[in-house]
Symmetry: C2
Subunit: 122 residues, 2 copies
DNA sequence: CTGTATCCCCAACGATACTG
DNA sequence: CAGTATCGTTGGGGATACAG
């Protein structure tokens, strides 16, 4: 599977104990995770729509990220029985929806400082 | 050095263009980054203090994370000329300080859902 | 005390081909 | 359309030893 062995894994678990913050970071820390959540919140709740949005993503990765987000209860899959092909819809859970405004804060924060590296301390 | 070559790097840059959110995630996405920022905000602004807090961290990693955070203008190093040994102090920049409340939001969010996996959508 | 150099490991990222 | 299996690549995390 994955870990349970290396120090890497042990440290990860250690951080989870220190503060829930770190588990949150682990959730959104993936390369595409936060963007996927954001995209879904904007209505791109289909596999192929996400694939279009994230033009360079491979199906493998998208599928994997989606599965991980599902594991963390950020979103759930919903089958749409009416459609002829598969028809799967991704829906944010409460947890996922509450994450969105935080991501927006993060986005604003990054935007505010992306240009001028304001270095003012002490 | 690092990348500039692989698709991995290209995709990272692509995400940076899509939304600043992703660069923010890249900043705090490191294993210890957010915890370090948090610790410094609480006054653990010395190398050895951070090393104590993050008991399992190796000097290598701590140094590396610190350097990256400095690169992202989250914190700056300050030499303390009065002390006999090296004496380096880490101080959060404005950017870093504004990140702290966002991290707290993230922490609260994670805490709220860490126990009961509330899956309520649609 | 605060770092850096070097090397290893492994997990995430990614490409391709294939299935229901 | 949605998803998985497989395999290769990349680079971050980690240990240790060493330096200012």
């Amino acid at each position: 599977m994955r870990k349970e062995n290396s120090t890497n894994a042990v440290n990860e678990q250690f951080l989870f104990q220190v503060c829930a913050l770190n588990s949150a970071v682990a959730v959104i820390g993936g390369r595409w995770k936060s963007q996927i959540v954001y995209s879904i919140s904007e209505g791109n709740n289909r596999f192929h729509l996400l694939k279009q949005e994230l033009s360079n993503i491979s199906e493998q990765v998208l599928s994997r990220q989606l599965k991980e987000l599902e594991t963390h209860a950020i979103l759930i899959k919903k089958e749409i029985p009416d459609t002829v092909p598969s028809g799967i819809e991704y829906v944010l859970t409460n947890k996922g929806q509450e994450l969105v405004p935080i991501l927006k804060h993060l986005c604003d924060w990054a935007k505010a400082y992306e240009a001028g590296k304001i270095i003012t301390a002490g």
